[in-house]
């Protein structure tokens, strides 16, 4: 039985290439269908068709028909589908109407005019289904991102819809929040049989949950102006060819495992079953750090008089890429802000002989428009830099040349993040401080960022410090990893030695120690193997 049926669906904004064309898709009742693909491949549009937000809230040219549980979205706007299809989008904080969790969850029920007793019961059930009963009296604005997103799902789920649409629900969350949200989604599906249509970038956790996956193509093919939407298939097979697939899946493809594994556990079983003689990876591909650019000795720092960091020592030299890891609230952002001079340390000694620039966590606060190129040029103008090639160089370094004429607000979260990095890095500071650079990034953006960090910084003798939850990023491009816990340094050393044996370990290291990345395994296998990207 099919829950949502797409028949010949096409969509285009006025005066631009079609985003979707001739989509035929059946979402089966009770399944979790994962939609993956690079930014701008039409994932959001595909999902927003399911409850009529496209075309009712978007405008544009819409062809074909989407039927959700027997109701066509042509005749039913989103508000008339609220009882069968729930929708949750990417930014958790912008979807609350009432400043109290419980009342916000009841909002949909009041709109549907449900009887008070039934309403009361439904809200209690949803609070338990998502494990947020203890948050019922709180204000959504005071919650963490993961909690907010679970409350938003509860708000969509209260009407007991048969299907729920999640548009990148975890892309703005830290790993713990993402795990909570996805666990809740899995529980809903297995306990209540709710059909789930979910788009994700962070596939490590989402892929094992899904029953089927759908990979949307790269940007539109030039010839027809439309792109083919392939039909969904088994998750491992669909994702194996995709650059954003989980590291174990790509490792499986490299080593010829069938079907490609989705979890570390499965991959470990497969690795045990085969004997693999590989030369050990080179000790360190990076050179020793050069002249010191930042030297912090025993600094205390915090915001609003509250000390978050206590006695931190950190030296950063030329050619180093330092990754700061640690849970939420461990002081990563505070340390970056202290190094940037935004929150000056209250104690200790901080020397900054090099020039330093800080890329804040929220890229939107840097976006002025009207075009991507203008945004990067603004920085040059403010800094009095008159080298015309510089803007082009940085647009190219972050893979933004194709987007240079677009309005920044039209970009996806990952593209915006890249633009923010370009707009700051174009000043070519000695040290670049990046706060959660891979938040909301798709695979393509991540590749661009990684090559920037690996090549540009280590060859042009600059340095970078990144605060991140993304262990794979740290494994692939950090020369040094510093782990913070409760405002103190817990570990500091080369990536391989800090990451091995820790709970933070990247997937490949857990399957095939001491290798950190798929690329390292590929290099060890020799030139006969080609690393899938």
């Amino acid at each position: 039985m099919n829950a949502i049926v797409y028949r010949g669906v096409g969509f285009a904004y006025p005066d631009s290439d079609p985003v979707l064309a001739q989509v035929q898709l059946d979402v089966r009742a009770g399944e979790i269908l994962l939609v993956a693909g690079p930014s701008g491949s039409g994932k959001s549009t595909l999902l927003r068709c399911a409850n009529g937000l496209v075309p009712h809230a978007s405008g544009g040219r819409f062809t074909g028909d989407v039927v959700a549980f027997g109701r066509s979205t042509r005749t039913h706007p989103p508000r008339r589908l609220a009882d069968v299809v729930g929708f949750v989008h990417q930014h958790p904080e912008s979807q609350f109407v009432v400043d109290q969790v419980e009342a916000d969850i009841a909002f949909v029920l009041e709109n549907l005019g449900m009887a008070p007793m039934a309403m009361r019961r439904r809200v209690e059930e949803v609070l338990d289904a998502l494990g947020i009963a203890h948050l019922r009296d709180r204000s959504p604005a005071s919650l963490s991102g993961g909690e907010q997103q679970r409350c938003a799902i509860a708000g969509a789920l209260a009407a007991a819809p048969s299907a729920i649409i999640l548009d990148e629900p975890t892309s703005q969350l830290d790993p713990q929040g993402a795990e909570d949200v996805l666990a809740a989604v899995g529980r809903l599906n297995s306990d209540l049989g709710t059909t789930v249509l979910v788009a994700e970038h962070r596939l490590e956790r989402a892929a094992p949950l899904a029953h089927r996956a759908l990979l949307l193509g790269e940007t539109a093919t030039a010839a027809t102006g439309a792109r083919a939407v392939p039909s969904p298939g088994p998750v491992g097979d669909v994702l194996a060819a995709y650059a954003g697939a989980p590291a174990v899946t790509r490792l499986g493809r490299l080593l010829g495992w069938e079907p490609p594994p989705l979890t570390v556990r499965h991959a470990r079983d497969l690795a045990r079953a085969m004997t693999l003689e590989l030369p050990l990876p080179e000790r360190s591909p990076f050179r020793a750090p050069g002249e010191t650019l930042i030297s912090a000795k025993g600094i205390d720092a915090g915001r609003g008089g509250r000390a978050v960091l206590r006695g931190i020592d950190l030296e950063v030299g030329r050619g180093e890429v330092v990754a700061l890891l640690g849970r939420n609230g461990s002081g990563k952002t505070t340390l970056l802000r202290a190094l940037a001079g935004l929150d000056p340390p209250s104690r200790g000694e901080l020397l900054r002989p090099g020039s330093i620039a800080y890329v804040p966590q929220d890229p939107d606060s840097l976006l002025l428009g009207p075009t991507v190129r203008a945004d990067v040029e603004t920085t040059c103008r403010l800094l009095g830099l008159r080298d015309p090639g510089r803007v082009e160089r940085w647009l190219e370094a972050l893979d933004l040349l194709d987007l240079a004429g677009r309005h920044p607000r039209d970009l996806s979260a990952g593209e915006r993040q890249r633009l923010a990095i370009a707009a700051i890095a174009v000043g070519q500071p000695d040290v670049l401080l990046l706060d959660e650079p891979t938040r909301g990034m798709d695979a393509q953006s991540r590749v661009a960022l990684e090559s920037l960090l690996r090549e540009r910084i280590s060859t042009s003798h600059a340095a970078a410090v990144l605060a991140t939850h993304d262990v794979e990023l740290a494994a692939r491009c950090a020369t040094r990893v510093v782990v913070l816990g409760d405002g103190e340094t817990v570990a500091d050393g080369p990536a391989r030695s800090v990451l091995s044996g820790s709970l933070f370990a990247p997937q490949v290291l857990r399957v095939l120690p001491p290798f950190l990345t798929v690329e390292e395994v590929g290099a060890a296998l020799g030139p006969s193997h080609v690393v899938p990207t």
Partner: protein, 367 residues
């Protein structure tokens, strides 16, 4: 911290009205200071843990102080009376067309003090309004309002919720602007550089919110004829009342009365028409409890007591700077104002220990 409140939103509304009325009845600086102190106490005891509540008191107080400052400045520049000249400024005489009064010139002490006392009342009103916003649940207030005001109320609630998040965005954008130049301050074009991202982020947020509301069935029932009728009646009421206000300012008494009556009549008609329609279902509507009625009643004693004192020609209620003297204090008036502290004496509602707490921790561990 929770958003729970010991008192009903309507009780808070009564408190705010009583406090504002007391300010009007007893505008002497000493009494105004007392009311401001009461507002501070109420906020510190019952301030809710929401972004709006945390910012509203301080933001509105700052607005009040700024407004008061402007008022003092303008009054002392344009009004000249008495001989206690503090200092003399260069002056210009405005042409007759613009009122023909003198800007600048002598600044007299009584004028300055009188203006300050009047401006302090404005600060007091803003403090009361800020405290009201810090303690009341706007959602509860909207839920208690007649059906006709539901949509309008919801729009206002959502708009109010945008204020703190916009302030946070302003702060973030300012930091990002500094980050762009590596900490160097570039003043040229700074306002535009900082305003654009704030506006665009606000626009994006409102679109997302509109979509979220649409996806959650807002306006599910569609608009009926009664809605349209009550909507147009409401619009007429708004025009009528606004016209009455303009007429009042323009000192056209008769017209003001006529427009005011017409406005009130269509307002009443709008409420009646809208309420005839099937009642909007409300989730866990909060009813006024005995405690709420008691507190409301006690609060109302304050303006009533002051009104009695005013009838008895109590000279301490209103202070005037000429002849120059210290403001007097009547203990009876202080006693009347003390009734306004009543809400602060209610205990905060104890949250029942959550049964699901340990269970949640257990599932989190398993996960």
């Amino acid at each position: 911290m929770t958003t729970a409140q010991p008192l009903h939103a309507v009780a808070w509304l009564v408190w705010a009205v009583a406090a504002a009325a007391s300010l009007e009845l007893a505008p002497s600086p000493l009494y105004v200071a007392l009311v401001v102190a009461v507002a501070v106490v109420v906020v510190s005891v019952h301030g809710r843990d929401t972004a709006v509540a945390r910012t509203s008191f301080s933001v509105l107080l700052v607005f009040g102080v700024l407004f008061a400052g402007v008022r003092i400045l303008l009054t002392s520049l344009t009004t000249h009376a008495g001989d206690h000249v503090l200092f003399t400024l260069p002056h210009v005489d405005l042409p007759r067309l613009l009122g023909g009064f003198r800007m600048g010139g002598t600044v007299e002490l009584p004028v300055l003090l009188q203006a300050s006392a009047e401006a302090f009342v404005v600060v007091g009103v803003m403090a009361v309004f800020g405290a009201f916003n810090a303690v009341v649940s706007h959602h509860e207030l909207v839920q208690s309002a007649p059906r006709a005001f539901y949509e309008v109320g919801l729009v206002v609630t959502v708009a109010v919720a945008f204020v703190p998040s916009t302030l946070a965005t302003v702060h973030r954008v300012g930091e990002a602007d500094l980050a762009r130049t590596g900490g160097r301050v570039v003043r040229r074009g700074r306002l535009l550089r900082r305003a654009l991202p704030v506006l665009e982020s606000g626009l994006e947020r409102s679109l997302a919110l509109a979509e979220s509301m649409d996806s959650r069935g807002f306006g599910h029932a569609g608009t009926s004829t009664t809605d349209r009728v009550s909507g147009s009646l409401l619009l007429m009421a708004l025009v009528g009342l606004a016209g009455a206000f303009v007429a009042l300012v323009g000192r056209a008494g008769g017209l003001a009365v006529a427009m005011g009556l017409a406005g009130s009549a269509s307002l009443a008609a709008a409420v009646t028409v809208a309420s005839r329609r099937a009642e909007r279902v409300r989730y866990r509507p909060r009813r006024m409890k005995r405690e709420d009625f008691v507190v409301s009643g006690v609060c109302l004693l304050a303006p009533c007591g002051l009104a009695l004192l005013a009838l008895g020609r109590d000279a301490s209620l209103v202070w005037s700077a000429s002849p120059l003297r210290l403001p007097a204090l009547n203990l009876l008036a202080v006693l009347a104002l003390a009734f306004l502290v009543a809400p602060a004496l209610c205990r905060a509602r104890q949250q029942s220990p959550s049964l699901s707490g340990p269970a949640d921790a257990a599932t989190a561990l398993v996960a």
